[in-house]
């Protein structure tokens, strides 16, 4: 009786394991903005032996705000854009970028799931889900630039978050000023301005906003490739005297919009 029970359990486990199919992702972890390749092994699923299978994908399973993939089409007639590429017998691949596949922003996308099916939906795999997207996390730092991407004709604002400073001098720094140096596309310095008084936005936040052509005279025909900024200021020494101190030099490369 014991042997029989064990055989049944073993058989069920084998069937269960065999019937799972196998999914791998490249890259293994990804954000909603990355291009991802799904590789699916349909061995052991009802789709085994098929040469044409289609992805039926959905976002945010169980967390709300989900959408069907824009490539899904109708259950009885999958869209051709959902067709998986046959790599070898029972192995299929599908490439996607989640923001495009689901028509949702990275902030909206938490996870996704999918199943594989025949075009007419007569056969399908089980659901493979949920696969979480890596969050596109904002990491606070003592120095920051707004916006994240801009060219040399744009306004840029450099910030110093004193509350996030790790260096004791920067934590204590006052009379905060900014040094700016601008470089052409070849990396040669074409102009700089030092000791620009920073705007004190709060007790712990300093900033300076600028357009390069208002700070330096850009040589005719020159395009800027990058700039550096450095916050400087004063601290008191042991005798109560002002001593100059400065933060690191930060480099920002201009984006070339197209």
């Amino acid at each position: 009786m014991k042997k029989l029970l064990l055989s049944i359990i073993c058989s069920l486990t084998a069937v269960f394991a065999f019937g799972q199919g196998k999914v791998t992702f490249s890259p293994a972890s990804f954000t909603a903005e990355d291009e991802v390749t799904i590789t699916l092994d349909i061995t052991g699923t009802p789709l085994v032996g098929q040469t044409a299978i289609y992805v039926w994908a959905f976002s945010n399973d169980g967390v709300g705000g989900g959408k069907d993939a824009t490539t899904n089409g109708q259950w009885g007639a999958s869209s051709e854009s959902a067709k998986m590429t046959l790599v070898s017998a029972n192995i299929f691949q599908f490439k996607f970028v989640a923001t495009t596949l689901f028509g949702q922003s990275p902030a909206e996308l938490i996870n996704f799931g999918f199943l594989a099916k025949t075009k007419d939906g007569s056969k399908q795999s089980q659901d493979f889900k949920p696969f979480k997207f890596d969050p596109l996390v904002f990491t606070p730092s003592q120095f920051r630039v707004f916006p994240a991407k801009f060219d040399y004709t744009d306004m840029a604002t450099v910030y110093f978050h004193q509350d996030l400073a790790t260096d004791i001098n920067l934590q204590r720094m006052y009379n905060v000023k900014v040094n700016l140096t601008f470089y052409n596309e070849g990396g040669i310095a074409v102009g700089s301005k030092t000791a620009i008084v920073a705007k004190k936005e709060s007790t712990v936040l300093y900033s300076y906003a600028f357009i390069p052509e208002r700070v330096i005279t850009i040589p005719a025909g020159t395009k800027l490739g990058k700039f550096t900024y450095q916050f400087t200021g004063s601290v008191k020494d042991a005798n109560g005297q002002d001593v100059t101190t400065s933060g690191p030099v930060n480099e920002v490369v201009y984006t070339v919009f197209n």
């Binding site: 902030a107 904002f138 197209n258």
Partner: protein, 165 residues
């Protein structure tokens, strides 16, 4: 009894024949938006928007940069002909940073009744801007937007609010 059948049939046919779509008058009169856009406008507010930060749900999505430089000195004049069609434009920047490459030329919109883009042209130089909400036009506020793209994706925008002079 036979007559009753014919009577019911006749009533049914008359009822069906009576079902015709009715034409309703428009709820409001059409508003010529492009005509409302014409006039002399003074720049009153400039907002820089990090569109990439917005889509990623990051903090620090936009900054009001109006006071950084004298943007409010800029005056934008959109001229139309007698029929209200767009003709010429001039931008008098004063000491304001430039908001587009051109300072004069011709202008046009993609749809006179519901424009979404405004095109400024001078020779081969063309600057395209987006038209914001029409709601402000009635109260003398014109909102236009300039987008900067990388590989088709808008990463940075400037929103310009003008007040009618």
């Amino acid at each position: 009894m036979k007559n009753l059948k014919y009577l019911i049939l006749a009533i049914c046919m008359i009822s069906l024949w009576g079902c015709k779509p009715e034409k309703f008058a428009p709820i409001t009169t059409d508003i010529n938006v492009v005509k409302q856009m014409q006039g002399t406008w003074a720049l009153s507010k400039v907002t820089q928007i990090d569109q990439d930060a917005s889509t990623k749900g990051f903090p620090y999505k936009q900054v009001d940069i109006t006071s950084v430089y004298p943007y409010t000195e800029l005056v934008f004049a959109l001229v139309g002909d007698g029929q209200g069609n767009p003709t010429t434009f001039t931008i008098t920047p004063g000491n304001s940073p430039k908001i587009v490459d051109l300072t004069s030329g011709t202008w046009s919109v993609n749809d006179p009744m519901a424009p979404t883009t405004i095109e400024l042209k001078n020779g081969t130089v063309v600057n395209t801007l987006s038209v914001g909400s029409y709601l402000g036009l009635k109260s003398g506020v014109l909102t236009i937007k300039k987008d900067k793209k990388l590989n088709g994706k808008v990463l940075l925008s400037y929103q310009y609010e003008f007040t009618k002079k």
